[in-house]
């Protein structure tokens, strides 16, 4: 497919180019909805479509007013701070428990490995509305509903599968003789873990952490049920905005979030390549 051979017939040529056009259209479908909100967020009017001024590239048609609104509006600001308070704590919990368990799971002899794995992955599989409803009932019963701790615990549970998956994937190529060598030279298990194993699996741990972070940072269903007004996060605020009265400030928020995702995506990709290089697997 990479190149068209010189002897290709007209029909083959036509198919080759039309296939590329089809793929191009699908890529356009994937990316256009995300890209299109970026220019729209600089709209000087309160419209959700391109104004004639914008199409003429008239500087009058563009402004930062929606961004100013985001940074000066109290409800958006408190939502942003709530998100920034919840996501890191949830990530910390997921990563510390998850890494430990992933190391346990990648040992040679683990009884009930499949069953344990199935339980640990389940928060990713169970539909969010079911998790949310269950947590709502159970957390109200033990007094965690509507508290910061409740939301953090719920989000940590949702982020754990991602940590488990990424860290066990990193541990697949881990050379066990390294830890044995360290033990041989008199290092205790804790020293071995922090000085030998941790630096090698760190890329996997960090990308797992980023996944857990974005899971919590993006999550809205569970927080709607488990949280109360005091834990209103950014996605919650966006959800209300979209359902009730849609304000163009959402476009500015969305653009900021897209920028954050690009940043996270780049980091994860770089880490993945680094990890593959460290383990001697050529990047695919």
């Amino acid at each position: 497919m990479s190149a068209l051979p010189p002897y290709a017939t007209t029909g083959q040529r036509a198919w080759y180019y039309s296939f590329r056009v089809i793929c191009g259209l699908i890529f356009f479908f994937l990316i256009a909805p995300i890209v299109v909100i970026i220019p729209l967020s600089f709209n000087a009017q309160d419209f959700f479509t391109f104004t004639p001024e914008m199409l003429r590239l008239d500087p009058e048609g563009f402004s930062l007013k929606h961004y100013r609104d985001f940074f000066s509006n109290d409800s958006w600001q408190s939502a942003m701070w709530n998100s920034l308070k919840i996501a890191p704590m949830a990530t910390l919990l997921s990563v510390s428990f998850g890494t430990l368990a992933a190391i346990g799971l990648s040992q040679q002899h683990v009884p009930f490995r499949r069953a344990i794995m199935a339980i640990l992955i389940s928060p990713m599989i169970v539909p969010l509305i079911i998790s949310a409803a269950g947590m709502y009932f159970f957390y109200s019963r033990i007094g965690l509903q509507g508290t910061y701790l409740g939301v953090v615990l719920a989000h940590a549970a949702l982020g754990i599968p991602f940590v488990i998956i990424t860290v066990t994937a990193t541990l697949v190529g881990f050379d066990r003789s390294l830890t044995r060598a360290a033990a041989n030279m008199g290092a205790d298990p804790v020293t071995t873990f922090f000085r030998i194993q941790m630096p090698l699996i760190l890329p996997g741990v960090i990308s797992g952490g980023l996944f857990a972070f974005i899971t919590s940072f993006d999550e809205v269903v569970v927080v709607l049920f488990v949280g109360s007004a005091g834990q209103k996060t950014l996605p919650w605020q966006m959800f209300i905005g979209l359902r009730e009265q849609i304000s163009p400030t959402i476009l500015a928020v969305a653009t900021i979030l897209v920028a954050i995702s690009i940043l996270l995506l780049t980091t994860v990709e770089l880490l993945r390549r680094r990890s593959e290089r460290l383990r001697g697997i050529t990047p695919s």
Binding site: S2, I34, I121, A154, V220, E269
Partner: protein, 423 residues
Amino acid sequence: MSDTTQNGPVLAADGTPLKRSLAKALRLQKLRALMLIAPLLLFILVTFILPVGDMLFRSVDNRIVQEVLPKTVVALESWDPASSELPDEAVFAALAVDMKAAAELKVHTRVAKRLNYENPGMSSVFRKSGRKIRKWDVENDGPYKERLIELNEGWADLELWRTIKTYSGTRTAGYFLNAVDLKLGAEGVEIRPETERIYNTMLVRTMRMSLIITFSCIMLGYPVAWLLANLPTRKANLLMILVLLPFWTSLLVRTSSWKILLQQQGVINDVLVWIGLVADDNRLVLINNELGTIIAMTHILLPFMILPMYSVMQTIQPTYLRAAKSLGATNWTAFWRVYFPQSVPGIGAGSILVFILAVGYYITPALVGGTKGTFISNLIAYHISTSGNWGLGAALGSILLAVVLLLYWVYDKIVGIDNVKLG
């Protein structure tokens, strides 16, 4: 070498038999692995598995009737619900005692609400009577049968007594039956009246739309995965970013973007009008219907289809295709008979993943689906947060969970949960 090593069991350095020594080491290893996993397992159990289990239990829990009307339930045991006569005085007396106690604690409204789900109209009988019975002196105000019927003629309704009798157990299948548009009558399972049937339609719609979404993801994902798997690595990695960026972008961002694009005054309609495909006064309705949900969810779930397909297609040797062609196969035959069968595992993995995610979706249908494009999840959320019929919400949730777990099991058989890849 000493004789023992030749005759007796092989010994380890410390003198114990090697076999036992090895077994001990293995046990220790297993124990250590479990110790590392235990904290997380405990964490997940408390924060996740118990809550879900708690919710599932609510779908069959029916203790409320016995808790609030204990004496009535006992007294009703001797009454035959098939008979055409009202229960006797003893039952009415028990009811009066129970209702007075319940009304004082203000819990009679809870049992009223519970029974009202099964027999609409019962709630008002309980509420109205409760207020009055509170003032009664239940020791010597008789006869209760006449007094109660005088108070509210609802007590003379046989159906009401049959409902109490049917739902007097501590467990009930009522919520589940309700979730599939059936109900438990005095003679057994009955179909609900036409006007009350909504849940089957909803379940079928959720399944149908999830299948449509899965199918559109296959159609759109296959060419892209094929292109990515067959391009040189450098180019493929670049194009991969276009797949991964939507995957990493906030769900709310993608949903809001579709909400904005699909509006009647939105960018898509503007472009169509500008090209001349659509008249300005006849703009397409793309949102708040099934179409809106399908478009937005296909976009949101497409990366979950492309990534597994891509990882399978990467392993398919291009030489097979060349061999087929050199043996005289046309392009289409070579693709259909040689390449496609090898890519089926990728399609399977992607489809199950997309379908699992689609059936449980809540946010996107709630925002772009209007009333026609909502899923079963939206109904569950409605029952949990608005209507307060938690049992029914839990029953619907259990059905959804059963479907998802079944597919998860299939996915585990085909792909293996260990092989799930992210990014």
